[in-house]
Amino acid sequence: MTLQQTPAGHPADAESGREPVVRLSGVRRHFGQTPAIDGVSLTVRKGEILGLIGRSGAGKSTLIRCLNGLERPDSGSIQIEGREITKLSEEELQPVRRRIGMIFQHFNLLSRKTVEENIALPLKIAGWTKEKRLARAAELIDLVGLSGKARSYPSALSGGQKQRVGIARALAASPALLLSDEATSALDPETTASILELLKDINKRLGVTILLITHEMEVIRTIADRVAVIDAGRIVEEGPVWSVFANPHTETTRNMLSGIRPNLPPHVAARLVGEPSGEAILGVDLSGPDAGNLLAGLSAELPDGFRLVHGGVDHIQQQSVARFFIGIPPAADALARAIAYLQRHGAKVEVLGHDPRHV
């Protein structure tokens, strides 16, 4: 088994058959001379959670704003549920926007409307009667876990509660697509986890397609099915989350992952030398069902044993993703046997150097 193979039955397989909710092709947007988006093509399929990650200034905010026409691209095509929106007038865009809910980093709740009035606002815009929209707002208040807060004003709510109102408001008109613009970036880690849990639950229960932008890999890891990495206005990498985490192809992605994947500790890296003296330090990457058993097998293979320096097995989208660093003692053929064993099991192996401290 190699990294490139997608195990049968994984959600990524099923998605390829689903119809796209959003289809971008060759979208460009310049601000003066600087391109904010430089030829982006991207598809969001029905029912999936696609995470778009990039540093600040990478163009992700501009891109997400193009999807509901808050920002107009200079060229390229944007289709929402099969309808081209780049040529629509502001008035023609309004019904399209009602099919798209959006949540924001700073919540953007109206301070002089109560929780229920905030949630009911998209319905008021869509022309629902007061009775119907308050009934719908009550349903959503329960859905997002804010029972008893209908008559509160946003100022009386915590950040997490405000974002729950934002989510309820975005879902009020039963949109086909939910856009999340750094929705958890202003929240503490615990609240972030509960908001992501809520989004995931909504995606599962209501089947709402979600496109979220973030600069935090942890968010992608927790919630997304697929990830697209954007850098300098271009999509540089795209794929199922577990596969991108297991085997990032670009420097940008590796950098963004550096805080969340195991790395060789700096003090160990500092003393590595090139010539064979002391222990050989290997970096090993493997994903798939074998990942969890790899070390046990390796110790059977090497009579003199080995040393686990750093790392372990992670689980992303029910996939085992192993990344660890091991030290092989300088015995006769131990290094060659270890590499042969690991490669036989599909692992990516890299000899990083030798640690003279361990002989």
Binding site: E91, Q94, M102, L110, R112, P154
Partner: protein, 218 residues
């Protein structure tokens, strides 16, 4: 204070109240839309149109730069056309309103401009049109600040109405000038000043109370 003087005092008080209330109401009705137009047509506004914005701004600045006492005289033909006369309390309401409208328009503009752009964006993202943005976002969110600005406008109008005595409009300010200043009746002067202080305090207090009730920001 003689009974005649007292009657004059009461009449002057009501003249001040009516002049302030009437010109205040007109400046609110005309100034708020003008303030909205200034914000909407300004850079990044919901109906951006910089040419219209410049023209509106020039008109507002023009009226605001003319001292009120000069405006009072310069507007006499306009007043005569609207009210039929250029003398008296009703005649004074015309220049007072015309002076207060651009004043309040600028106050409203500042209030409306301070509404978080994110809120406008959120309502646009919901599919709201410009009118929805005005009705659901700009005016309600700015309301506490709009009320605070209107309170200031009313108090400024009380001061300005004293000058309307120059065209025989009456009012407390006029009373203080004619009796208190020109005839050295110190008691009248003190009484007028005391009443004006009370009126201004009452308006400010009522305005502050209303702002506190309307404001739901943390």
């Amino acid at each position: 204070m003689t009974p005649v003087m007292f009657d004059l005092f009461v009449r002057s008080f009501w003249e001040t109240v009516i002049m302030t209330a009437a010109s205040g109401a007109i400046s609110l009705l005309a100034g708020l839309p003008l303030g909205l137009a200034l914000v909407a047509t300004g850079r990044g506004g919901i109906a951006e149109n910089l040419w219209i914005n410049r023209i509106l701004a020039a008109i507002v600045n023009g009226f605001r730069s003319v001292p009120f006492i000069i405006l009072l005289v310069a507007l006499i033909p306009v007043t005569r056309f609207i009210v039929g006369t250029s003398i008296g309390m009703w005649a004074a309401i015309v220049p007072l309103s015309i002076a207060a409208t651009p004043y309040y328009a600028r106050m409203a503009e500042v209030s409306l401009r301070e509404v978080d752009r994110g809120l406008v964006e959120a309502v646009r993202a919901m599919g709201g049109n410009r009118w929805t943005i005005v009705r659901e976002v700009l005016v309600p969110e700015a309301l506490p600040s709009l009320v605070a600005g209107f309170t200031v406008t009313l108090i400024t109008l009380i001061g300005a109405s004293a000058m309307a005595g120059a065209i025989g409009a009456g009012g407390l300010g006029d009373l203080a000038i004619r009796y208190g200043y020109q005839r050295f009746e110190t008691a009248v002067m003190i009484a007028v000043v005391a009443v004006l202080i009370l009126v201004v305090c009452a308006i400010q207090w009522a305005g502050d109370r209303l702002v506190a009730r309307l404001d739901h920001k943390a």
